[in-house]
Amino acid sequence: MIRLEKRPQPSKFWGALTPVLAVIATMIAGGILFWMLGKDPLEAIRTIFWDPLFHETFGPYSRPQLMVKAGPLILIAIGLSLGFRAGIWNIGAEGQYIMGAVCGAAVGLAFYPSESMLIFPAMVLAGAIGGWAWAMIPGVLKVKFGTNEILVSLMLVYVAENILASVSQGLLKNPDGMGFPGSRNFRDFPAAHNTDLIAGTGMHWGVAAAFIAVILAYILLTRHMLGFQVRLTGEAPRAAKFAGVNPTRLILFCLGTSGALAGLAGLFEVSGPSGQVSIDFNAGYGFTAIIVAFLGRLHPIGILLAGLLMALTYIGGELAQLMLGLPGAAIQMFQGMLMFFLLAMDMLSHYRVRWKTPVAAQEGAK
């Protein structure tokens, strides 16, 4: 018989170890899944986790891709983690990501084909403002009317998707595109193109921004009063109010910051790796970043590692589709399992597992 005993305070040791255990459990359960699909489980796991980094042929192509995919995930997850720590649940980063991309791209495209140095910075600003404004909608509604930010931010994702579809077939459509939906490609617009900072590494401005965000978030949470207030609000909302934290300001700060960072991620993506505003430009980074935030324990360094890992499953998943013919849905399921195991393993940091002695077990069986 197994018995759970609540720990007096959550174990830091298990808190750090559970993400690792969750990854291992996901590998095992994923292996079983792949085996049931008729694939060799070991080969599938190797294709997902090993080949993208170390395979002779695929490695050189995949390694830069790791940065390209991890950049937006980390950038968004850092923003989300601030809110999650304070108990403010922005689930709509995907929508803020789209709106950042649309606003930033619109500013750039408006000046086509200017060669001014100011265009890209203006686009970055517009991208951040776009995401920020989209996140302010659930923020203001929550502050003024007490609406639930989970529902409002999530529903606004679908609104943003429709706006994206509309502008890529209308306002932002490429005039020289012979009627195809989608904007001009930023590859043909050098002043507005978010190119690799070092050619061939995948290190574009968005990746740099992600690393800067990790550092700033770390300083904010450990050294700054605002970060302390964020943590205090999450741990004990009444104590935060008693300490003098203004809940309204904190809600708007957390939602605004996560929106702005998601908007930035969208802008860097649309002006770089993706290249154009298209109907299906968004790839679900805004949702996957929620997993990244929790997998990284809402800690900036953890999020950095979790973002890289999650990027690996994306690339490895594509490779597995290509090499082994695994269905695309299998890899999404794989990511879902990761979140599932993480939440389940959390129990270990809050509880101690004990095996009952035989005598006690007999009594317990009554």
Partner: protein, 510 residues
Amino acid sequence: MTGDMRQGDALMTLEGLTKAYPGVVANDQVSFSLLPGEVHALLGENGAGKSTLVKMIYGLVKPDAGQMTLNGTDFTPVNPAAARAAGVAMVFQHFSLFDALSVAENIALGMDNPPNTRELAGRIREVSQAYGLPLDPDRIVGDLSAGERQRVEIIRCLLQNPKLLIMDEPTSVLTPQEVEILFKTLRKLTSEGTSILYISHKLEEIRALCEHATILRLGVVVDTCDPREKSARELAELMVGDTLHVPSRDPAEPGEVALSLSGVSMPSPSEFGTDLRNVSLEVRKGEVLGIGGVAGNGQDELLAVISGEARAREGSITLAGDEINILSPSARRARGLLTAPEERLGHSAAPEMSLTENALLTGSVREKLVDRGFLRWNKTEKFARRIIEAFDVRTPGPDNAAGSLSGGNLQKFVIGREVLQNPDVLVVNQPTWGVDAAAAASIRQSLLDLAHKGAAVIVISQDLDELMEISDRFTALNEGRLARPVSTQGLSVEEIGLMMGGAESDEVAA
């Protein structure tokens, strides 16, 4: 240990009951017996093992070793339902009632085989009349006073015709008049042969009510006595195992008005809270103002409106002559008004955060622990260490989580955090609630010392003995209204009861 000779006619005997938790032995070889129709007191400080012991009797906790008998036969309840079936009932300190349901519905929920509602309502009326506990079965529990809620719990127990009734700190929520009603009920029960195991830390009550007392210290029975033959002080010293330090002070002339509320009204932020109605008070430098009253009469709301967590809708609050109603909690702290709310876990302290972080929680402004937005962790840790040393907080160090401290130690930390910031005005709510006697005495002494140094202190408390001991003037909250403060000197229990808006005289007679 005792009572072997009267085991033959005992209702219940406990023999060598032992229960250990990881790191602590809660009960070690506890033995005593209960006679039919007696009120038996279980005395001890917090953490002495009283709760564990009654939980074993009530079937909530399984003993590691030892035997119990009830009416001479073996008694090993596997769960509370089994204990109830055997005739053991218990009234808990914290009520388990649903605010939105009626009295009868609540009682039906706690019964193993409830009869239909009309029959039940009839039986509730019967029992409530027979035992002098007025209660209308159709009323919604959310509208009842704390005393009436307790009656719901008691009647729920009495409907089972218990042989043994366990009561955990029953009078902590009652006015003196309500205590009288309760004692009449209990005496009637014992005259019919029911035994009562009575847990309390109010020694005068135990001396008035109980025939036997078993005293626990650190899980061990240290003494048994007849409390009627001992003084309250002797009983307290038996509990603590040491001579007790009684707070002392030199009376000083009160100075000018430090904090004043005039005509303050505020709707309660919580649904079942109490609105403040036209509250006016003044507290002077060097003075302790005691505010009594039964819990739930606006204490939390009064503290919130003073701390700045809530704003008064009408009236004005002035600190040293300046209006402060629109100021935030931090701005009020900067001006010298500090507060300590009742609830330690989650309100005055964040349980999962370290003591250092909790020192920052209210100390950031006055102790200058923040420099242009950045935290000065070294300075904060020094402040936390200063509190721990000055207030004898028992903890391995300031890195430990606040929630890992015992209630008394955390309360010492919270009070110390405010006192060491040298407030001009300090307002505390239930400063010694759930705190052991020695810690309570040191907290009271620190409040008196603070007043002696010239600060104005307001103590909101349910513990009348505490208020009589330390306050210069006394007033009471009743349904959000504050009585006119009077001097504590020569105040009688009857006057206090009237100020608390206690039970009506016809209820006492019933």
